[in-house]
Structure formats: structure tokens, C-alpha cells
Symmetry: none
Subunit: 214 residues, 4 copies
Amino acid sequence: MSPKKTNVREARREMYRTLILEAAEKIFAESGFDAAKMQDVASAAGISLGTLYGIFEGKLELFTAIHEERGRELLERASSVTIPLDDPLEAMLMGVRTYIEFLVARPNYLRIHLFEGDAWAFGGRLRTEEQRRQFSLGLQLIADLYRRGMEAGLFFEEDPELMARLMIAQHQVLLADFVERGDDAKLEALIQRAQTHLTRLVATPETLARLERN
Amino acid sequence: MSPKKTNVREARREMYRTLILEAAEKIFAESGFDAAKMQDVASAAGISLGTLYGIFEGKLELFTAIHEERGRELLERASSVTIPLDDPLEAMLMGVRTYIEFLVARPNYLRIHLFEGDAWAFGGRLRTEEQRRQFSLGLQLIADLYRRGMEAGLFFEEDPELMARLMIAQHQVLLADFVERGDDAKLEALIQRAQTHLTRLVATPETLARLERN
Amino acid sequence: MSPKKTNVREARREMYRTLILEAAEKIFAESGFDAAKMQDVASAAGISLGTLYGIFEGKLELFTAIHEERGRELLERASSVTIPLDDPLEAMLMGVRTYIEFLVARPNYLRIHLFEGDAWAFGGRLRTEEQRRQFSLGLQLIADLYRRGMEAGLFFEEDPELMARLMIAQHQVLLADFVERGDDAKLEALIQRAQTHLTRLVATPETLARLERN
Amino acid sequence: MSPKKTNVREARREMYRTLILEAAEKIFAESGFDAAKMQDVASAAGISLGTLYGIFEGKLELFTAIHEERGRELLERASSVTIPLDDPLEAMLMGVRTYIEFLVARPNYLRIHLFEGDAWAFGGRLRTEEQRRQFSLGLQLIADLYRRGMEAGLFFEEDPELMARLMIAQHQVLLADFVERGDDAKLEALIQRAQTHLTRLVATPETLARLERN
DNA sequence: GATGAATGAGCCTTCATTCAT
DNA sequence: GATGAATGAAGGCTCATTCAT
């Protein structure tokens, strides 16, 4: 097998992966995991069942792949924008913006994220180990940031992991509200609102007062 | 048909309803909606499939009925404890206590409530009109209370319905955390914590400061 | 549940078992294991797929059940007719008769027995542990008998288990021939022939000579 | 098309045929007909599915071809070693040797031959007309030999075709036993054993006695 | 000619729902 | 009314075969 051919094959597989993941996101978003049919995913991707199964092992693997893919991407973005920032609050605000922008740009994944029983805030009925790992990583990123803010006396004294969950839940409510309204236009307003509520959630009264004065 | 016979029949149906709803709560809590089997519900209720279908039209109706039943009960309790209280914040704190006590006393329903993709905070994949109505009623109860507090200058200025959702989400995170820890012992601590976070969520800085002084 | 009801249910299950096993025997005989369709078995039994699966766990279990059922029955018969006989050769001759009569009376099982890659002589690609156990038991029954004849100086000196296989193979050839000819009429001739060849296979020249004289 | 080109093409096809038949033998021996995958055959042959289908029409044709190929080869060898011999018994003994040496040298084909439900002794589920023809030819070769021996008064009086089947069955049991033991070392012992049993199967008591004396 | 990606018919199995007893 | 046996539609997945490159 020539390296060229291998590359072509790899490229094609990658193309299919993308095609399928998008189609699957759509189908899972519309129907939920159980009601989604593999045949519908294949049709939505414009390919045959056989091809679909050539790329993904099965339904669960496909579902998992969506979360890996999107979760990893989201995590990377969130990390890359928060790490450079020294101020924990500033980092958090930047994190929310990234989080919201990412999800609003991917409405199908957003629907899955919110409604498929795997909302990050609960970590409830997560279906695979990979999903649990992903969930845990995302939570830790936020919890660590919170810990820093708490140690700097900026944030309210509370279990950082619990606070991380509360933050996520908060954003999810705002996103769910946004989705329900079908209000694509005011992304910036949504972000502002989310940041306001985030600040109120984490900051001590003193921090709040200081912010007010500026 | 004599009225007496009718009454007997009604009583029997009522008994079955209760039996089935409890069994269904257990099964749905363990497996989720899709994986739950009607046969398992019937067995858990100690009745036959035929009888189950004599009382409930189908799986979806059964699922819906759980939410109606528990939702109505919860709503009534929450109403009855909050209505007599003049102070909106006090009413809210009392409401959370009731909410949490109610759910912790019904762990099966709690699991469904949190993890079955129909958490009240999102109103997401609600499966029937009735569920949406219920959801809306509960939300309004809280939103109205919030509005009163806002008009009294005690609460933060924000869309009351959104705030209601944020409150519910907050409690759900705390309850999910509670469930995950299997921490049955410290109900009172959970309520305290929920009330603290609730206060921080809704109160203006001035209100907070005043509370601090007392 | 009343004992009566249980009995009725058991009786019905038993009836279905029989019905299904007969139908399955037919289908497996016609098509072989892999080509046989569960739907065809159900149809042949005059029941629905659901009912079929209510009685048997799956295709393999059904196939196994046929072998258990028939194998056990055949083994019991063969044991019961050979055990009372002191003379090993006489016992063997009686055993063949039983074996052949049993299989000729069950032509579908005979076809499976001969052609489904699990002919007792080879013990080749046996699909389940149960089948292997059954095969081993049948073989031992014959091998033990052979050993007795050998120790009595009546039979040719050779590994008894190998001789058992040779005997089975011999009968199977005769049965296959019989099946191919569709010659239902001359069962007794078939048995005679099988006994003649059996004698020639196992007996020492001396034994043969003695028999000749009688 | 030049004759040369045609020759080249033919040579290539022949090469592929050989390659594929060997690979297929391996795969069918390992998995049996139904479980064998065409893809696995192609991979084992180091070619593509398309090429495989360019040489053989389908799975069944491939399976058939193995039997034709090997069967023809075996037949030729058996013929060539038996024809020059005048003594029918001697010819038979030579034939068995050839038969066993041939199969032991081709363990994959041996496995198929024994276990794939198409053992020559039964002529059972032969899948194509060609297979039946082949089977018949092999059987006739032996039957004719037997007939000669019978007419010479050397062999037991019995239907020659049936005797041919019994012989084949006998060898197959010995070969199956040999395969199961994984006993590659003692080929000569296996042949000796087979010849002994063959003699006992076909010879009249007088013939046996005469042999004994020598 | 060779490749192997793509196809899709087909089969095992499950479970919500019905209905004869 | 109660039962639970019976139904059969539906869906995940495989693999023989085809065909565009």
C-alpha cells in the first residue's frame, strides 16, 4: 500500500467521520439517544448503513465519539483562554464566554448537552467511561480556577467542585432559555447576562463592592 | 350500576394507581424511561400487565402521571407553606426546605426528576402537554414570589422566570450532589446550604448586608 | 398463583416446547443451523416469534435443546436395553437396533445428526459444552461395552473409544444410505445389515467362527 | 488480443486461483462455511475482494472449487496407484495409503473434508451438482475395486457402493482421531492402523486366514 | 486489471400492547 | 375484572456482492 493511498483513505475516513458526527448530532438532538435510529443517521449523512458501521463500531460508540470530539474541543478552548489570565474572576468570565460561544455555534450538540441526561452539572446517567472522564476533566478545570479565587480571598468559601457544578448549571439554564426562545440574535446579551450571574455566584460581597466602584 | 359499586370500583382503581405509580417510580428511577419495561413495572406493583394497561393507557401516560402526581403534590405543599408568609425571602427559604424535604423523602422520584432529561430547570424534552403545564405552574409559583421580592426592593433585578429556573437548577445541583454522595444523614445541612446559596442568588447586596447584621 | 394455574402454564409450556422442537428439527434438518431462520421455526410451529423466544432463549439454545432432548432420550434407551444383557456382543447388537429404530423414527433429527457437522463419530465442530458432554457420554457407553467384550476375549484388540467411533460411523453410513434411498419400508433389513457389519467390525475371527457354527 | 497476452492472462488467473484456493482452504477450515468471510479469504490470499470475485463467482463457487480441485487431484493419485495393481486387496491398501498421505499433507482441506458436513461417506449436504459428481466418481473408483475383489471371492459379499462408503467412513474416523490428537509424528502408524481395519472390513474369513498364515 | 469502499437486504432479538380465557 | 400468553413491528448490526476509480 502506497503512503499516498493510505493518506487518501485516511482523508476519506476523516471526511466521513465529520459528516457522520454532524448527522448524528442532529439526529441525537432531535430524538435523544434511544429513539435515534442508526438508519436515520446514515441517511442524514447521505451514506449507507454499512459505511456508517465501517467508521463507527456501533450506536453507543457514535454517541460517545460526539462527546469526545466536542468535549475535547471545548475543553481545549476553555483551557487556552483561561490559562493565560492571572485574575481568577477574569479567567472565569472569559471561560463562560468561550463556553457559550462554542455551544451556541453548535446548536445540535447544545441540545444533546442540555437534554440528553448527561448535562455536565449532574454527571448523572453518563453512558461510558470516556464520558465520565470528560465530565470530570471539565469540572476540575473550573474547580481549580475557583480554588485559586477562593485562596485569593476573592470568592465565596465553598467546596470548589460543588461551585463548579453550580456554575455549569447556571449557564445551562441560560442556554436552555436561549434555545427555547430561538433567539439567535442576542448572543452578546446572553454572554453578558451569564457573566453577571457568574460574578454574583462566586464573588464575595467585598469583591462585588470593589467591582461596583470601578 | 349502583352508586356503591361505582365507588368500590373507583376505590380499587385508586389503589391500583398508587401501587403502580410507586412501582413505576422505582423502575424509571433505576433504568430511565427507555430502558424501563412495562412488565417490570407490573411485576414491581404485584399486578398483571393487563391490569396495568387497564389503569394507564401506555408507557408514556404512566411516565406523565408520575410527574403530574408528584408535581401536583409538591406544588400544593410549596404553595401552602409559602402563601402565609409575607416576607418573600422567608417564603422562598421555606419553599426550598419544603422542596428538598419532599424530594429527599422520595428518592426514586428524585432520581427521575434529576436525571431523566426533564429536570424542571430546563423544561427540555417534556413529553406531553400536561408536563409542560405542570412545569409552567411550578415555575410561576416561584416567579411570582420572586416578583414580589423584586418589587419590594429585596431581590436582584432580573426576569423572574429566569430567576426561578436558576433557583431550581441550583437546588438540583445540590440534590444531585447529595444523591451521589449517598449522604442520607445530613438532610438539615443540605437544606442550610441550599438556603445560603438561594439567598446569595436572589438578594441584593443591601439585603445581604442587612441579613448579615442580624 | 394457584397450583392449578401453575400446572396449566407448565403444561402449555411443555406443549410449546414439543411443538417448537419438532418444528425446529424440521427446519434445521432442511437448512442446517446457519441457514435456518427463527421466523421459519416459529411459522413451522404455528406460533409467533415472541412466543418462540418466550420458550427458548435464542437460536443456539434451541439447537442445543434438540440435542439434549434427543440425545438424552437415545442414551436412556440405549442404556436400558444394553445394561441387562450379559453378553457384550448381544448387548451391542441390541444397542444398534435401538439406535437405528430411534433415529429412523425421527428422520429430521436423523438428518441433523448426520449432516449438521456434529456426527457423533467425529465430535468435530460441536457448538456447545452440553453437546460435547452428550457426545462423550454416548461414546463412553459404547466404549465400556467394547472394553468388556475385549476383556472377555470376544472382541478385537483395539482402543475401545476408537472402536466406538468406528461403530457409530458405520451405522451412520448405513443410515445415510437409508435416508438417501428414501427407503422407509425395509427397516428390519437395515437393522440386520447393521448388525452384520457390527459383528464383523468387533468380533475376533474365533468369535466369528463360533457364531458361524451356531 | 495477441495469443501471448492471452497466455499471460491465463497464467495470472491460474496463479490467483492457487493463491485463493489455499487461502480459502485455511479460512473454511478454521471457521466452517457459514462463518467464513470472503474478506478474510481475500486478505489471507493477499489480494482484494474485487480480484477474488474476478476469479470466483461467489462464496459457494469458491467452496465448490476447493472440492473439485482437491477431489480431482486425490482421485488422480488414487487411480494412478491402484490401476497398475492386479490384486484388489493390495490395490485397496495402496489406495488408503495414498488417501491418508494426501489428506494429512493438507490439514486444512482435511478439516473441511471431515467436519464441513460434506464428508464423502455421507454425500450429505453437497451443495452443488459438481460436488455430487465428484463424490460419485470417488465412490465408483472404490466400488469398482471392491467389486473386483468380491468377484475374485476375496471380499465379503455386499453392495460395493455401500462398502465404499463404509471404507471412507472408517478412514475418516481414524483421520479425525489423528487430527484431534494433534499427533503429527506417527503418520506411518496411522496408515498401518487404517490398513488393518480396512482388511478386516473387506476380507472374507478365508482371505483373513490366508493372510494370517503369510 | 486491481482495488476496497460502498451498498443494503436480511436476520436475530426485544418489548409495548392486545385480547382470549 | 384480572390475567399473562401471544403478537409482530421495529431496530441494531453483518457481510456477500458490486462498481467507481
